[in-house]
């Protein structure tokens, strides 16, 4: 599983960073950094919450 963020869609609204701060973080320029794009099982639930909660639906998870 790999997290993919569409940075053209991302508006830096910081919903994902609140739900899963260990995975998502905003850079000083407001763009999103994915700290760990291969979350383990324990992180999956919060990543799925972040995917659902993204107000511009810029986050997806793909199967490698």
């Amino acid at each position: 599983m790999r997290i993919v963020v569409d940075l053209d869609l991302c508006q830096g609204n910081a919903i994902c960073t609140a739900i899963a701060p260990e995975i998502f973080q905003l850079r000083p320029d407001g763009t999103l950094a994915v700290l760990d794009d291969s979350p383990d099982e324990t992180q999956l639930a919060s990543v799925e919450d972040a995917i659902f909660g993204c107000p511009v639906q810029a986050i997806a998870m793909t199967r490698d």
Binding site: Q11, G12, N13, A14, I15, T17, A18, I19, P21, E22, Q25, L26, R27, P28, D29, G30, A33, V34, L35, D36, D37, S38, A45, E48, D49, I51, F52, G53, P55, V56, Q57
Partner: protein, 417 residues
């Protein structure tokens, strides 16, 4: 969840809060039936872009839809309005698109009927629009195609976003509000005035401190009359007067209503006998008891998600439910400015710039009263919001001596694989 848990959960409201609750119920292992009743004809969609990128034509209609997880397995009843609630008999009465009246029995009910835009008293001529739904937005978009002169009445966040979007489209825009500055109730006068200057710099005709007396109506609106005797010519008026929670259908139900459906800190709806274990309210319509703020109703995306997760626990796994004690967070995009506020500022709070320069539209400001910092506003400082939010959660004195939170970003915390 036990075998004695609900087998049919009905959700009144098909926008973010309702759908997020459905999603959270499934994620917690709820396997019973889910029925989602939506007053609009549309499957769930995002509202935030309606005043911004969707209105600007930068997001198309299909991209506006909320992505519904495959696991949601919910039955949608669209174009269907909640009419009445019988809490003793566990029945929700609805009217469908054809006018048919039906009773829906439920084991548990989620109230997520949202809010309706506030209008002006009296008859409104054609060409005066509120903006809440995608249908509202399409009607405004169609009118905008004729390149009208636009008057935005109400300089709250939605009104300001609409004004900014219309200016970006190159339209003539006036922005009117009886308060002294845009977003005055939240930002206060000093920083509201900074925003007034931002809009004026972008060519908006900013008219603060002026109320609307009425409209000039020649079959369609031709102008707006203000209480200082002036008149603004306009062919399209967009109202941004805030919203009122959609609780009219609950009158007489026995639920306690007071600017929203009153709930305890677990989201359970209150009635004279206390909290009901089988009815929760979430989103714009819900006012929860809040450990930090007494009671709180917030029209924020993030707050709806927080409530949805908590309400799902309350309904099917109450033993694991915890009081919701979130620090509210919302954002607004206007021109190239992203405003974010964490906490709850109230009119009359003191305000201090604690970092940066308001005139350059990159700064952090703190609001406080009674020796507590109540809220922090970040303008084009998105990367620092999370830290200020956790500082607020821990409590900050006032006036705050912090100019910036401890910087945890100077060294990477994790190497991206």
């Amino acid at each position: 969840m036990t075998d004695r848990g609900p087998r049919h959960i009905v959700i009144a409201g098909a926008s973010l809060a309702g759908v997020a609750t459905a999603n959270a119920l499934r994620r917690r292992g709820y396997t019973g039936a889910l029925t989602i009743v939506g007053a609009e004809a549309h499957l769930p969609y995002q509202r935030p872009p309606l005043s911004k990128r969707f209105l600007a034509g930068e997001v198309d209609r299909t991209a506006l839809g909320l992505r519904l997880p495959g696991s949601l397995d919910a039955g949608f009843r669209l174009s269907t309005t909640a009419l009445r609630l019988d809490i003793a008999r566990h029945r929700l009465t609805v009217r469908d698109a054809g006018g048919g009246i039906t009773d829906l029995g439920y084991d548990a009910l989620v109230i997520a009927t949202g809010a309706a835009p506030r209008l002006l008293p009296g008859r409104m001529p054609a060409g005066v629009h509120a903006l809440r739904t995608v249908d509202d937005c399409m009607a405004i978009g169609a009118a905008i195609a004729g390149r009208p002169r636009i008057v935005v009445v109400g300089a709250g966040f939605i009104g300001c976003e609409v004004a900014a979007t219309c200016r970006r489209l190159g339209l003539d825009v006036s922005l009117v509000d009886p308060l002294p500055a845009p977003m005055f109730r939240v930002l206060g006068e000093r920083l509201g005035t900074v925003m007034a200057e931002l809009h004026a710099d972008h060519g908006v005709d900013v008219r603060m401190g002026r109320g609307v007396l009425g409209f000039d109506d020649a079959g369609t609106v031709t102008g707006v009359r203000l209480d200082d005797g002036s008149r603004i010519a306009g062919d399209l008026v967009i109202l941004g007067l805030g919203v009122v929670p959609a609780t009219g259908w609950l009158t007489g139900s026995g639920l306690i209503l007071d600017d929203g459906v009153m709930c305890d800190e677990y989201g359970r709806a209150l009635h004279a006998g206390g909290a009901l274990p089988d009815i929760v309210a979430v989103g714009d319509v819900a006012r929860w008891r809040h450990p930090r703020y007494g009671s709180l109703r917030a029209e924020h995306w993030d707050h709806a998600l927080v409530q949805a997760r908590a309400a799902a626990a309350t309904l099917i796994d109450p033993g694991s439910a915890a009081p919701v004690d979130d620090i509210p967070y919302f954002w607004s995009d206007q021109y190239d400015v992203k405003l974010q506020m964490v906490g709850v500022a109230r009119a009359g709070d003191d305000v201090r710039i604690i970092d940066g320069d308001p005139s350059r539209h990159a700064f952090v400001a703190a609001y406080g009263r009674d020796e507590r910092t109540t809220a922090v506003l970040l303008v084009n400082q998105a990367h620092r919001m999370a830290e200020w939010r956790s500082l607020l959660a821990g409590g900050i004195g006032w006036p705050t001596t912090a100019t910036r939170p401890p910087d945890t970003r100077s060294t990477p915390r994790s190497s991206a694989r």
